[in-house]
Symmetry: C2
Subunit: 496 residues, 2 copies
Amino acid sequence: MFEDAELGHTVAKDDYAKRNAELRQALLAAQYELKGNPKFPVIVLIGGVEGGGRGETVNALTSWMDPRHIEVNGIGEPSDEERERPRLWRFWRALPRSGKIGIFFGSWYTWPIVNSVMEEKQPHWSRLEARINEVNRFERMLADEGALILKFWFHLSKKAQRKRLKELKKDPKTRWRVTTRDEAYFKRYDRFREVSERVLRDTSHAHAPWIVVEGTDWRYRELAVAGELLDALRHRLATPHAPSAVPATPDPSPGVDTERTVLSELDLTQKLSRKAYDQALERWQGKLALLTRHKRFRKHSVVVVFEGNDAAGKGGAIRRLATAVDSRMMRIHAVAAPTDEERAHPYLWRFWRNLPRRGQMAVFDRSWYGRVLVERVEGFCSMWDWQRAYGEINDFEEEMAGHGIVVIKFWLAISKAEQLRRFKEREAIPFKQFKITDEDWRNRKKWSQYSDAVCDMVSHTSTTHAPWTLIEANNKYHARIRVLQTVHDSIVRALE
Amino acid sequence: MFEDAELGHTVAKDDYAKRNAELRQALLAAQYELKGNPKFPVIVLIGGVEGGGRGETVNALTSWMDPRHIEVNGIGEPSDEERERPRLWRFWRALPRSGKIGIFFGSWYTWPIVNSVMEEKQPHWSRLEARINEVNRFERMLADEGALILKFWFHLSKKAQRKRLKELKKDPKTRWRVTTRDEAYFKRYDRFREVSERVLRDTSHAHAPWIVVEGTDWRYRELAVAGELLDALRHRLATPHAPSAVPATPDPSPGVDTERTVLSELDLTQKLSRKAYDQALERWQGKLALLTRHKRFRKHSVVVVFEGNDAAGKGGAIRRLATAVDSRMMRIHAVAAPTDEERAHPYLWRFWRNLPRRGQMAVFDRSWYGRVLVERVEGFCSMWDWQRAYGEINDFEEEMAGHGIVVIKFWLAISKAEQLRRFKEREAIPFKQFKITDEDWRNRKKWSQYSDAVCDMVSHTSTTHAPWTLIEANNKYHARIRVLQTVHDSIVRALE
């Protein structure tokens, strides 16, 4: 894969001057077209060997284009903030919005490769494969969400790298740039090459290709990267993006015996008296308060998702949970229609950004499941979009669970009759009127479509590491206590 | 993921009779529409727990539809023939052609799951992940090639499976069906559930979804599978297939300094005298003859790919190789335009089917690289198709290498002037006239496009386990000896 990048490519000074002038103008024009009609974000990854000219090329790109619309992300050691979140969090937070170009100088490839190269004995291939798998799923999702992804790998032959390091060390002005780490890397050149060939081979796709660039001549590498970026921008600006492949089936669920479902099997008559509720509330809130102050809790974080029928009592249940937990440890995210900022990113972005630090609890009042519920039923996204969401959501929650986050998901279920009663009550009582809108009545008309979507959602996303808990919520007291209990028990299991 | 499939779904006798009649008629109609205008193959996988009714459902499907256009593949232990090929070979050979329905009763999921469940200690998760990765790439390729893929998982709760095994054992007519292996599986029910949840979660995609079906009631499961198959067929017959997503860039290669390439760097003046050639030929043919008769050779197999410019001397080089090897051990595959049969399968199918058994050598005179050479240059496939081919080809060759196949790939390069000389010679000499056609002259006009395609091919598919060897072929003697030497040395390295 590196054959072409060891030929000693160079570009003559005159050729460079001419081509450079053309490229700058064309790149600026493309950048403005992208910005003026922002349909997609551009993600450019820069990787490769030490001394291959990665930094210089990034600087050239930003000086050629309008730097206000390019974000350069240097990815070094993760910060404390980042360490307390799942692996991909730091990359999610750095994703460019539509119309912008995000350059990752170092990326989600950096640490998997570095770790594999620097490990004492043989590279741990199966661990590397797990990372490759994770990265492939991540990039596939980004591409499906419309991102243009280009990945540049700056290569130097062993001989060229040796020469480069020597030159840098000779000149007092550049000597500082050669660190002991660079020397250590160079000693492992062969393994580095072996590992990176494997990674490049298994992560190069038509939707996110690696382009290997020889790093010896600065004129060559600048023209190579700028030219490729220009071609890709022009191609994509001229081609309508069609990420909507055809799913195999319009509805991946058996669809027979729709009378008996996970919802219909709930016993909605379960109730708790006011007195029993008061006692239980005090008990479980007390237990939760103690638990979340436990020293071992500081190593974990908790994500609680509340979904449910309109008027099922999500707000009330969340308030009872909030009372039990120190408010500095908890943040509640009420999820409504996405903002412009959020719409300019992949749909999971606004949830990733709100993942809690260690020792914290994040409560989502509605969540990423909107895509397979309201967006599916109301046709806000394509069939392809909501069907691929099941897998993307499972990946998201697997990232969380893998990081030690306790993921708790509630569906609060009420009967159609109970919903009607509550709607009418809300309309009648002045201080509750803000809680009922025309939209609630419209949604109610699609009761059975929403029920189907809920059952499919449970079938596809209830997993061992992030199970759904269906709560019978016709009786609010019963529902609230069940919620508190479940949160408590899930945390206890995690701390054990 | 199994919640819905543990509710005790049943279908009443009357409902079944009614729905069954409708479904049969509709399925037959859909099957004939598929057959009449065969644009895609249908791949149906049947998996799940023992006693979940997999066999009965397959029998029902074949009796409902026209069984002449359904192929049922039972996948048990691999045969000797299959064991001597890479893991996926047995599935490739069983793939249905366009217009047909192929049912896999047991599939590429069977052994990864069984092995993970039956291993003594903990399941080997990272090995399972590697298999999942392989399967995901395989199915993605099938879907990109146009296949409709549906995967049914028949589930029984632990209680239901216990009951089912008991019932089967009680009845003398069905007692034989419960094997000791079934009992062993049941003892590991919990682990089976854990492993299969993981597999289903990580391999369910919009383009190849898992549909989990409760296996207790035969009426329910038959209607569920038949209904889902019908929906999927109708959906796909009505929707134009658009697997052509937009690649990130029109050409994933630097594209600067096109004067200096892996081809231009070849020293085409290298030559061998007739006398030196005769001596070397005898020497290397002798060494190869000995080597391929070596007892250790029987554990390996060899795949040799010949690509090159028109008139570069592939045929002559192949003949010299053939002379050295026992003809019973070698098969030469001349690859021309695909036949109808081949066109009705994914493009790699015709190469997979010709992979050699152990101790055998398969020589391909032109190969799977046609997709990124002639098909790319002549526009026989879309930009998306040839770009995704790089990864698919790497996967293919990785399967081979992982199985111990020695993969040797030659590009025989001649200069444009030498080609002209040979073309004219062929036209002038009567017994060589069959070797020169109008197409050769047409291809020659696209010399530089073909050169670009060759360089890109080498950049993307020359890997440690399947490297390209570029052969300077202006002098035929030199080229032939280099070929023999390279084949010999590659085999020696593998046997070491």
